[in-house]
Amino acid sequence: MPIKLFSWIKKLFKKKRMARIGIYGPPNAGKTTLANRIVRDWTGDAVGPVSHIPHETRRARRREDITIEANGRTITLDIVDTPGLATKIDFHEFMRYGLEEDEAKRRAKEATEGVIEAVKWLEDLDGVILVMDATEDPFTQVNVTVIGNMEARHLPMLIAANKIDLPEASPTRIRSAFPQHTLVPISALEGENIETLYDEIANRFG
């Protein structure tokens, strides 16, 4: 008990300026698009390619020393763009996107390894940006599992309700599903409301 109490008091008075933040979410939620947006806005660089085929990101990519200035604060982040989390991967799904069988099987194999990598990264993070597709049902098991892990570890989390540029997007549905967490509706693709996201990143992880 005393250790827990002391670490809480220490956290209270220590102003953390460096944080390793994981970008998590299901496949095709827009994680890499968001990672690219953040890194491009603050360094002029990019993290990785994006695609409409699920599991485009199959290796975690880490970009260090991204300094964000927002809301009167300066925070330096390591951004980890993680492969999409899933509980099932069937190579037939990739064939529906026009991939040949061999390529689809290889992608499926790499995707399973990517999911394992993403799960392992959960243990080495200071916080998470959970990217949800605002046009989809928010109660997916992946979302529930990531949120549960962050809550159990008492780590800060921010929900980015992505794809608000699409007419069917409903960030309100996500907000009512997880009312206990800070949510920012964004379009990572169009950059819509991205300044608000930076303000919240500075508030939550700074």
């Binding site: 008990m1 250790i3 827990k4 109490l5 989390l85 899933a86 509980t87 099932k88 991967i89 069937d90 190579f91 099987k105 499926a108 194999k109 399973t112 390894e113 999911v115 394992i116 799960v119 392992k120 959960l122 049902d137 109660f139 997916t140 098991q141 529930v144 599992t145 949120i147 549960g148 892990n149 809550e151 159990a152 599903a177 997880f178």
Partner: protein, 130 residues
């Protein structure tokens, strides 16, 4: 004996549904639970857990599921649970007690169990024979 006491089995059109009591899971370590779940699901059973897994156990289950996926074989699991609940009491916070309350969870092979709709209070799924 243990199975009779803690587990009720129902056969529905060739697909076996096992309802696992909280007591049965409580006797297992995390890795035993995950092994048990994966073995049962890989033998085409649908499991309904009275109390689900902790978030850490769920993450481990996802990890081990990925290891077992094979082309033209096992394609993974469908798992649905209600969000866990945290103990927000001052006492719990001060004493650092991890009091995550896990909730009812349904797990099955991805090719047999499909979730139709899920919200905070209801999970709708269909079970298919293949």
């Amino acid at each position: 004996m243990t199975r009779k006491k803690n587990q009720t089995t129902t056969r529905v059109q060739g697909v076996e549904l096992d309802f696992i009591s909280e007591d049965k899971l409580a006797t297992m370590t995390a890795i035993e639970k995950i092994r048990f779940i994966l073995d049962e699901v890989r033998s085409s059973k649908i499991l309904v857990l009275e109390r689900g897994l902790t978030p850490e156990e769920e993450a481990k289950l996802i990890e081990l599921t990925m290891i077992e996926i094979t082309p033209d074989g096992f394609s993974g699991i469908e798992i649905e649970s209600y969000p866990t609940k945290q103990n927000t009491s001052i006492f719990g916070k001060i004493f650092g007690k991890n009091t995550t309350r896990t909730r009812l969870t349904v797990i099955g092979p991805a090719d047999k169990l499909k979730t139709i709709k899920k919200d905070r209070d209801m999970i709708t799924a269909i079970v298919t024979k293949q």
